[in-house]
Assembly symmetry: C6
Homo-oligomer: 278 residues x 6
């Protein structure tokens, strides 16, 4: 909420690009539109990384390709030079990422998939970039439910294809569990819990003295929360499994192409989906 909106981002980008030579092709309002959710510091990084890339490439000024590359870097860490995964692992990761991608494409009203990759960046073995079209001020129950299904999609694709699951989904599960918990305890999105905020009270700390407050609810409520969180994540898994099962051929096509090419753009994904019979 305290992140800058599109106008704020454009203003921030302008400030940081004052002492950087920008190519004629660059329109900062376009960059502002492509960076919802970025903080001021993130935007400063985007400009700096782009300037470094342009220098390394002996360009006179920063052009769009450098800015696009640096946006991705800020989101997912620097690209690793070479992949050392085994073929088997690469194949699993390809299916995992295409699981996320395909569920995102099949569900209505989700953010567009910009890119899917199995080139490691930072800690991730692969990644699926979804960018929102606009800044968002409100998120609906359906939005979060879709997000859960997309997160589970990676693991479901692994399981459907290899009848085996791996440690690769740990991060997705942690995120999905955390979103589901917020639905239940902060957003009043579980009918069984009702329109209550059950968040544990934050601790006030004053002058080095910490004033702990016990949880504001009973064991029975804790149990109900657990059940609701589980139900939400299980539903998301069922949804993802259903979508991927009924579109298994497309999943195979996508994963094969991604295994081959290592990166697919949003446009390339659309072409593969359009070519598929379903």
């Amino acid at each position: 909420m305290s992140l800058p909106d599109i106008k704020g981002r454009e203003a921030i980008l302008k400030v940081h690009s004052r002492e950087v030579k920008m190519g004629a092709s660059v329109d900062l309002s376009v960059i502002a539109r492509r960076t919802p959710g970025f903080s001021g510091a993130d935007l400063a990084n985007v400009i700096n990384e782009a300037a470094l890339l342009a220098a390394r490439r002996n360009k006179e000024g920063v052009e769009l390709p450098e800015l696009e590359e640096s946006i991705e870097r800020v989101m997912a860490g620097p690209q690793k030079k070479s992949s050392l995964m085994s073929e088997k692992e690469k194949k699993i990761v390809a299916y995992h990422e295409c699981g996320h991608t395909l569920v995102a494409k099949l569900l209505p009203n989700t953010d567009p998939v910009h890119k899917v990759s199995i080139i490691s960046r930072g800690h991730a073995l692969g990644y699926t970039l979804q960018l929102p079209i606009d800044d968002k001020y409100l998120t609906s129950r359906t939005d979060i439910t879709n997000r859960l299904a997309i997160l589970l999609g990676g693991r479901c694709a692994e399981e459907l294809t290899f009848a085996e699951i791996t440690t690769g989904a740990a991060d997705d599960l942690a995120k999905a569990s955390s979103y589901a918990l917020k639905m239940v305890t902060e957003f009043g999105m579980s009918d069984k819990i009702g329109p209550l905020a059950l968040k544990k009270p934050t601790q006030e700390v004053f002058l080095g003295r910490d004033i702990t407050q016990n949880a504001g609810y009973s064991e029975r409520t804790a149990q109900l929360i657990d059940e609701e969180v589980k139900r939400l994540v299980m539903d998301a898994q069922a949804k993802a499994t259903e979508l991927l099962t009924s579109h298994k051929k497309i999943l195979d096509d996508l994963a094969a192409k991604l295994f081959d090419r290592e990166v697919l753009s949003g446009e390339e994904i659309d072409v593969i989906l359009a070519a598929s019979p379903a």
Copy 2:
């Protein structure tokens, strides 16, 4: 309780306006009457903000409009220059705020609605200003019960209209849950718990040593508290839903007008309600 009452507020306003040129139209006793619940610091801010506004507007002295604007600023933060919400979001927020407003208008003996707005201020996407007529020293069970229904009204309006709920109600739910908890554990307003104070004992902290005391009640009592808190909030939701359902036409009229005009004053709200058939 330790906030200044009306006489105290007038005295404080006088102190802070000594070195500010006040227009002839300004009667500080009127300002004191309109600021119940303000602290001394809040009142100082009101005078300062009003002086700044008058300077910006090249007025010779502070007049009523500057004071009214600055009272609002102190209550809800500075107004955002431009709304970047999508049309869809703006519509949801309009219904949400009108939900609060309409429940407040339909329940007897509630504080008058002074204004409703969908222009963002501070963190809020919209807000409904209710001002008490007098300073209050006692709050009855009915008063708090009504407050809960008004808080739930925003979310109920969203759900009735769009069959969807959003994260926009999180703050309302947190407030409602907290008031309901106080009814049950501090004010003896739950018949099942009885006239008991079950507040967790405050921790005494002495010379940097913190002396924690465990909760003064059992898991079974914690469970009973949870049930009562839930019942109070569910009842409030039922009440709000019932009122908004039986006055859905007025809600639609109000929300349409608010969507158009972005701000409605108490008088304008009254006109719309009077024009409605119910």
Copy 3:
């Protein structure tokens, strides 16, 4: 227990009044008798406040009225200049305080009611002054049971008269709950718990290190404690309700007079009670 007894108080009063001119009417042994429960610091305050009052009143020396006024100030905080409560609130507070007063008068062997007032002092909207006749070294089960009924009397009077309850009883409920807890866990005054001390062990803190000890009892015992505490407070409420219901006419008379006059002395209360038919 470490408070001074009557002889100690007289000695302390003598020390602090050495440099204050005392009128001929003042007998410090009388003041000592009227201040059981006062600490040494409280007694020093009594003398100082009385000296200030005498100076403000241009008296040559401190007389009894100044000492009486200053005793009350030390007990309940300085009197507020003007009452800003609404008529409705003033009426509720009058009934609340008369509820305490009447239950205290109807129960045998309770401390005499010295005064009842609806002029705000400190945080309290009203107050009922009960002064013990003697210093007390032992408190019986009956004494505490009566104290609980008197505490609940305020809220019962509100409920009987207005069929509504308010936040005004929160302090009474907190005190009653705390006394009931001590009966059950420290004084062995619950037959279901038996002659056991179940107080949570105090934490020893040594050199900034805090050595927490878990509670010395099980959840089942915690539940039994909760039940007994609730039973004691519910019994007190039933007792207070019964007494006030069967003496509702006197309650109305008392409250009407208190609403009119804002303060009633012990003697005035006795007159009203004597005039009542019951």
Copy 4:
């Protein structure tokens, strides 16, 4: 266990009395025999207090009476100058102390009662002095069981006589509960718990870091401990009640004499008991 034994005490007394003039009547080995359970610091206090008393009494040297008086002071605090208890309170305290005394006399193999008093010392309104004959290295289950009955005797005497209980027993209950807990969790003296040590592990604190360890047992065990502790204290209460009921006449005689004389020595107690018919 780390307290000095009889030889150690005699040695310590000798050290501290080197610079104090001792009368011919004084035999430090006798004093050592009368001070089992005293620490080195307690013994130093005994000598110092005795020297002060002798000086105040203008004696040339410390004699036995000063040493006896100072032993008592160290055990129970300085005697209060004057009793301010009401007659009623004095009577309750007399019965309370005689309850302790009579149960101690009626149970076999308990430490001899040296004195019983209703002159306040320190925080206590009265006290019963029991002195062991020898240093003790082992305490049997029967010893502790008797101790519990003696502790409960005070409250039982109050209840039998006045059909009322007071806050005066709070200290006895705390001690009895604590001894019973040790029987159950440290000494393996509960058949239901068996020969287990269930003491909560002590916390190790190192360099300002505190290393909490959770309790080593389950809620079910905590419940069993509670039941056993309660059973032990209830048994002690039943025993004390039975003894005092069947010797009520002696209790009345003892309490009457104590009320009159305020202090009774062991010999005087024996005379009253011998004179009683039972």
Copy 5:
């Protein structure tokens, strides 16, 4: 994950061997291949230890034997000079280690066993060296399940052979329990718990203030986790027991040889297994 991969290891080895004379036989890429899971500091140690060994052996440069010895040292601590275990203990340890080895050999797709030894190293009485062929980026449910069976194999071999268990398996049990817990709470590998992350939230600590968060799940969920962890470890024990029972003759042969020779290489193990009838 933040450990260097094969290319990174080779680079690190090169850096650290700059000032060390390396024999012609040494190919650092081979050493890099044999040290998956080593940190940068581990690799530095490998070079240093090898240099020291070469110096002690009066070699002109480091050769492969010194590097192999130093890799083992870094993995399991320095070899103890002489074994002081009793014959009985040596026999138990031989069976224990062969239990690990045989289960690892009998399960498909496990890391190759490089060596098994009953010469103490560091704290371990014996050890079984399993080295992965490649760096691993993903671990499957089957991989971890196999790892559990291998860990349990030591204790199962002891029990099958001596009908007795010892404290020697404590470390294996701790590791197996910890892996099983991760399967259940982090990797979503328990069907009963489902694809949820149930890890206790890490505590945020800020400026010396510690902000504890209670566990994010209820007692019922804690119980389900316990059941699943137990099931996973019990299944592993059953698997290990089944494999060792049906290959008891080979286990005896392996253990006898290991008892004799104290160390067996991977090749020697293969020879024994090949010679066995099964």
Copy 6:
């Protein structure tokens, strides 16, 4: 485990005896063999204490008797000069220690009893010295089970003989409970819990910040642990009782001799056992 083994101990003893004149009779390898379980600091103390004893005895050098005395001192604290226990207490302690001794003698494969004594040392009223023959690297379930029975033997002997139990067994119970807990939660020696490590996770403390982790198991598991710990200790008590009951005559003989002589060597114990009819 990090304690020195026999060779290590001999080396340490040599270092510490460099500047101490040793008699010709002293063979440090013998001392090393008699001190399994001693730390380096303990061994240094053995040498120092022996040197002091030799000096006090005006010997030219340390001889075997001084070393033996000092080994015992390091194990059980300095011998108290004189026993102040009553005859009754001395008799109880004699039976208690002989209970330990006799159970140890009757169970197969336990460490030899070197000495039994009722001369107080440190905090202990008596003690039974059991010395292992060899350093031990592995402890079996049977070893620990026997240890539990020996620990319970003291209390069982008291109970069988005097039909009374005392506080004297508190230390034995604490040790037995702690060993049993380790069997259940660390060594996988309870069939009901299975081969799991349930030890509470150690707390990591970093830079003064303490990072508490909740227990890794549920209340139901805690309950199961309690049951298993109790079963193990109850079984040990049953075993000890059975052995002592069926050898009561020998127990009486042993205790009578120990009461008389206050110390019995291993050889003397063997003579008494051999003389007994059983």
